[in-house]
Structure formats: structure tokens, C-alpha cells
Symmetry: C2
Subunit: 193 residues, 2 copies
């Protein structure tokens, strides 16, 4: 297809952002391991050299893709850890995570559901974030039971948010995810809400 | 590497089973889309032609990989659907699914967590099984809340069983998964257990 005046050129300032968006779409459809830089170039209608201008490897592109989400996750975890009680820490972690999932369903399923991505993230600094978010939820119930339920809640929210079963509005969807999470963890809803 | 007398030849009767086992391991590590028949041949130390003798496409191999699990899932769903009350139907579905996940953690994470696999399964006859298992759990709570919690429980169990956080024995692990699932769904434990 010949480029027209309406198509962005590889040098356009938003190309990097469009690369990231196309990558998320392809990672969701074909998984991270199943998506090549060539596929991303083809989907965007640019040359592979144009992709290389921004990202030299799939791993570099993945890092750029997950950065906004891990930044937000880090803030949620830090805010939750600063709370006084165990239940308040868990409540902050749960509501923050559900909100993140509702606002970024595709990205969340890449981040939490793709084995290649999970392995890469676990090996890097994000591994520490995963452990901290599990601890914030698992502390409600000492022993292995708390760990299992924390893992269920995090995987359950990410999985339910990914391929949406129903077209619910964000508020309703978030409310049901938080309610399901509270029940799993044995956490009461805070009174002042 | 030259073949030795100890290595199975492509004609060995267990080659098909070993191909399936290697495929599960590679699908778990690299995702379905990221695993080629050549990679499977290399891992097993056979030629690609030997793989072709059993499976012509990755899709054929995937079908053979998930067949035992979907057969078991079908039996669980049918047994659950035959129960009299909504809570008994949900209880059977939940305990059957948790047991399946505990006994097949790697396969379960391929089946439920890999976007390429989920798309393929949804498009085929397994799509009907997914809808039926969700309905069995969702019926406990009318409206969208029941659907969201059912999706959370199924994704949560599959996700928690995949990359195990703790080396729990199967019984303990299953017990916590079922307890977490009951709580999420608002389902009481049956009295006679």
C-alpha cells in the first residue's frame, strides 16, 4: 500500500505511542512470544527499520508497554503499605488493583496472563512488586491459605477483566470485582464509603 | 548429538505421548504462539519429520494436549448440571474445577491463561463448555455480579494453580482454592463433608 498524506510517516512524533498500542493489541491476540517486530511493523504499515528506530528488541518494546502500568502499580502498593491496619492495607491494594484492571483490561491480561511476560517481569524489578502486592492481601489470613486467596484474587481480577464477559460500565464492573475480592479474602467493606 | 541406544527413536510407541509432554512444557514457557513444531522437535532431540508423523500443525498438537483436560471438564460439567439445587450445582463445578487445576497445573495455565489458546478454544466446541461452567457458578447471584464472580473464580483458580507460590500438598492447596471460591461466590460449604 502506497503511503498517502493522511498516514503518519515513521518520523511522526506519535509513532512510538502507536507502536506501543499496536504491540498491546498483538500481544493480546498472539501472546508476547508469538509477536515479532516484523508483525508490529506490518500491522502499522511501516518498515521494520522504522520500528528499530524506537525499539531494538521485543523486550525493549515490552518494557515500554508495561511501564505505565507498573508505575501505577508501584504507587498503589506504596499507598497501601502506608496504611495503619492490615485490613486497610488489603482494602487499598484490592481497590487499586481492581481499578487498574478495569481501566487497562488488555494490558492487564498481557501483564498477568502471558507466561512469557510473567517470566520476564518476575526476573526483573517488577518481581518485587508482585511479591509485595501478594503480601498486602495475604496478611489478612496467616499461613498458606492467605497466600492462595491472594493469588486467586489477583489472577481472578486480571483474568475477569481481560476478555470481558459482559459489557458492563466501569463502575459496576469495578464494584463487583472489589466485592468478589473482599469476599475471597474475608475482608469487610470499610464503613465510611 | 548422535542418537544412542538409550534414546527413543521416532518410531517408539511413547513418542506421541512424549511430544505432548514436551509441548505442554514449551507452551507453558513460551506460550502456544511462541512455540514452533521445530522447537518441540529440538527439545525432544528428534527431527521435524518425526513430529510431522504425529502432528501436522501446532493446532493439531494443541488439540491433543488439551483433549484429556476438556474430557474431564465435560464430565465435571455434566455431573454438576445433573444436581438438583443451584448451590449443589455450583459446589460440584467449583470442587471439580479446583481438583482439575491442582492435578494439572501446567496444562491448566495453558488452557486458561494463554490468549492464543483461549481464542482457539472459544471458537471450537470447548467454547460451549466455558459458557456452561460460568453459568453453573454465576447462577448463584442473578445479574452481572454473578457473572463477574464466576469469571473471577475460574480465572483465579487457574492462575493460582499455574505458577505455584507455595509448595503445598495437593489436599491443602485444593482446600484453600475451594474455600476461596466458595467465599467469592457466597456459597456455604455442604454440611455432609
Amino acid at each position: 500500500m502506497a503511503p498517502t498524506a493522511l498516514q503518519p510517516t515513521p518520523a511522526a512524533p506519535d509513532t512510538r505511542q502507536r507502536l506501543i498500542e499496536v504491540a498491546v493489541a498483538l500481544f493480546t491476540r498472539h501472546s508476547f512470544a508469538g509477536t515479532s517486530l516484523q508483525m508490529i511493523a506490518d500491522e502499522l504499515g511501516v518498515t521494520k527499520a522504522a520500528v528499530y528506530h524506537y525499539f531494538h528488541t521485543r523486550e525493549e518494546l515490552l518494557a515500554a508497554v508495561v511501564q505505565p502500568l507498573t508505575d501505577q502499580l508501584q504507587t498503589i502498593i506504596e499507598t497501601a503499605e502506608a496504611q495503619r491496619s492490615r485490613s486497610s492495607r488489603a482494602e487499598h491494594m484490592l481497590t487499586g488493583y481492581a481499578d487498574l484492571a478495569v481501566r487497562n483490561p488488555a494490558l492487564m491480561s498481557v501483564l498477568a496472563g502471558d507466561p512469557g511476560v510473567v517470566d520476564l517481569l518476575r526476573a526483573g524489578e517488577v518481581g518485587g512488586l508482585i511479591d509485595r502486592q501478594i503480601k498486602l492481601l495475604a496478611d489478612l489470613e496467616p499461613g498458606p491459605g492467605g497466600m492462595v486467596k491472594a493469588a486467586m484474587v489477583l489472577a481472578g481480577i486480571a483474568g475477569a477483566a481481560g476478555p470481558r464477559l459482559l459489557r458492563l460500565d466501569d463502575d459496576t464492573f469495578r464494584r463487583h470485582l472489589v466485592e468478589g475480592g473482599r469476599r475471597t479474602l474475608g475482608l469487610r467493606a470499610p464503613r465510611n464509603r
